[in-house]
């Protein structure tokens, strides 16, 4: 057990889980933005975009749990569960790790409010869901600042790919701001 918790396995696991979380979060974010822009093709009906957004978010949460879990168990650096969920608590890389905790909190809030959407009502849910636009960039920054792979070419490439995906979706959304609609809202 001790070599498990001291050795490099957990360190690799947490980095991997973190990267997968970031990719899943990016995909979910992009799909969410596309859905808000009413993206639709014959192969991609609305309910598919929405359903995929939802399922990838849940998968991202699962990998987030793995990412946090492996970090907490790893005794090489002492990061406890509170440090993972309360922003800027931990002295280790206080700022960058804090961003991670912030992103985690936001992901949990987004997930919980979405699961209870029917009880929350549309207006309250919508207000809270705007937090998604904060969550993703915070997660990206956490990845760049905390991780030990920053500077590596593949890491930079991956991050740029994520940013490009979300930027592309956002551009589509902005173009579809639907100025022709007359409904009063």
């Amino acid at each position: 057990m001790s070599s498990f918790s001291h050795g490099p396995f957990l360190w690799y696991a947490t980095r991997a889980a973190g990267l997968v979380t970031l990719v899943l979060l990016t995909a979910s974010m992009a799909l969410g933005i596309l859905n808000a822009g009413r993206f639709r093709t014959r192969r991609w009906p609305r309910f598919l975009v929405q359903g995929l957004h939802r399922n990838l978010s849940l998968l991202a949460l699962a990998f987030l749990a793995l990412h946090i879990g492996t970090t907490v168990i790893d005794t090489y650096v002492s990061i406890g569960l509170p440090d993972a969920l309360i922003p800027f608590l931990s002295p280790y890389k206080r700022f960058w790790l804090g961003l991670g905790a912030l992103a985690s909190d936001l992901m949990i809030v987004l997930a919980v409010t979405s699961v209870t959407r029917l009880h929350l009502g549309h207006r309250a849910w919508r207000l809270i869901h705007w937090a998604g636009y904060l969550c993703w960039p915070v997660a990206v920054m956490h990845g760049l600042g905390t991780g030990t792979d920053h500077g590596r070419a593949w890491m930079v490439g991956l991050t740029l790919g994520c940013v490009a995906a979300v930027a592309g979706a956002a551009a589509y959304r902005a173009a579809r701001l639907l100025p022709a609609r007359r409904l009063a809202r």
């Binding site: 009413r38 609305r46 309910f47 549309h122 409904l183």
Partner: protein, 69 residues
């Protein structure tokens, strides 16, 4: 107990997700807004009706429970 579908036309923004999931009962008018077939929801479609109501981005699709019939 039977179910009926109802749209809150003020909340409805014409996303059309309901018509994708429940084409047997919901069609879209020329402007993208749902037209609900009259009458109660057939028993075999009630799970899809629930799914359609949950999928509505503005929660405008409502399932109304009614007595009898």
């Amino acid at each position: 107990m039977s179910q009926r579908l109802r749209v809150n036309p003020i909340m409805c923004a014409g996303h059309g997700m309901c018509a994708e999931l429940l084409p047997e009962l919901i069609t879209l008018d020329p402007w993208g807004y749902p037209i609900i077939a009259r009458g109660p929801v057939p028993d075999e479609l009630t799970p899809m009706a629930s799914r359609a109501a949950a999928a509505c981005p503005t929660l405008a699709l409502l399932i109304v429970e009614e007595e009898g019939r």
